[in-house]
Subunit: 204 residues, 2 copies
Amino acid sequence: MTTKLNTTDFAAMEQRYRAAFFNSLGGFKSLTLVGTINSDGQTNLSVVSSVFHIGANPPLIGMIFRPESAERHTLDNIMQTGQYTFNHVTTNFYEKAHQTSARYPREVSEFDACGLQPWYSEKMKVPYVQESNVKLGIELAERIDLKINGTVMLLGKIVEVFIPTDCIEIDGFVNIEKAGSITVSGLDSYHTTQQIERLPYAKP
Amino acid sequence: MTTKLNTTDFAAMEQRYRAAFFNSLGGFKSLTLVGTINSDGQTNLSVVSSVFHIGANPPLIGMIFRPESAERHTLDNIMQTGQYTFNHVTTNFYEKAHQTSARYPREVSEFDACGLQPWYSEKMKVPYVQESNVKLGIELAERIDLKINGTVMLLGKIVEVFIPTDCIEIDGFVNIEKAGSITVSGLDSYHTTQQIERLPYAKP
């Protein structure tokens, strides 16, 4: 049986119900821990499911911040330093990743509160998550404030990456399933994946 | 062993290698068939992995179009009618969905060429994919041209949805894994999912 819902039904939904509903409706999402630091050296870590690919040349990656969210410490830090890291999440620490979504005070580092290890590369001043399998170092390229609903979109330039060597395939494809990355649906549902197959370039 | 790559390495990559690399680096992505129609009544269908959640109230969903891509017929049609549909993909027809990425001429409908059935609701003039388990009807809200790399971002308002009734959980979460939706990594790697668990709202 199929349920049909329209704008009248959406408007009648209770707020948390509506958030759970639409967060799961777009499909499976990337699961990322964002590492930042402020100008006083205070680190921050937040889990996001709003990362999306923008382009490969130059390598650009986007992220959405919802208004009034716990992630705003992250946004503040990025605006201070111009840098951040994206760190894939695995089955080994997804509960800790989820815990970073709690509303900790600004003076608390989620690295300490949630039991994850900061790790620094030679190039970036912002922390990576040591436990993470795939790490991306990013420099802020552009901020776009979406007037339509008060969200903020950041476009970032990928400047360095750390990947398990045996997960980079011959044609450049990074096998993130082999690397252990997992996916998220909605606000709180975590999923491993099982590759069906890679399909060849499609021709008419 | 970990491979470290930086901007110098990125610049040295062959173009297709670079595209495969960065398309897989952001994490697992939603897999969506976009249904459109032009002002002459010609339908079009294209597979995209660039859909992302923007907000629940109002329900907004984003999509990126890369420059010079086969998806431009889709963009042209949306600019003509202001409407489009998002249709989740399942294991039953992911090969057909992939085939829509071939560069068919404008006068060919991918519904015919790839063997998928158009279906129309009472409200929208654009086609849904009958085979799809989760269907979203969308009205264009805003177009943003990203000067940074020539991509186009569309922000759309969800105006109706069709979902298997038994996949809507008590708190509003839509269990898209139960509905049969799959995910994609990179440009061509298709994956089913296995739910680990849903975690409760995190508190400090």
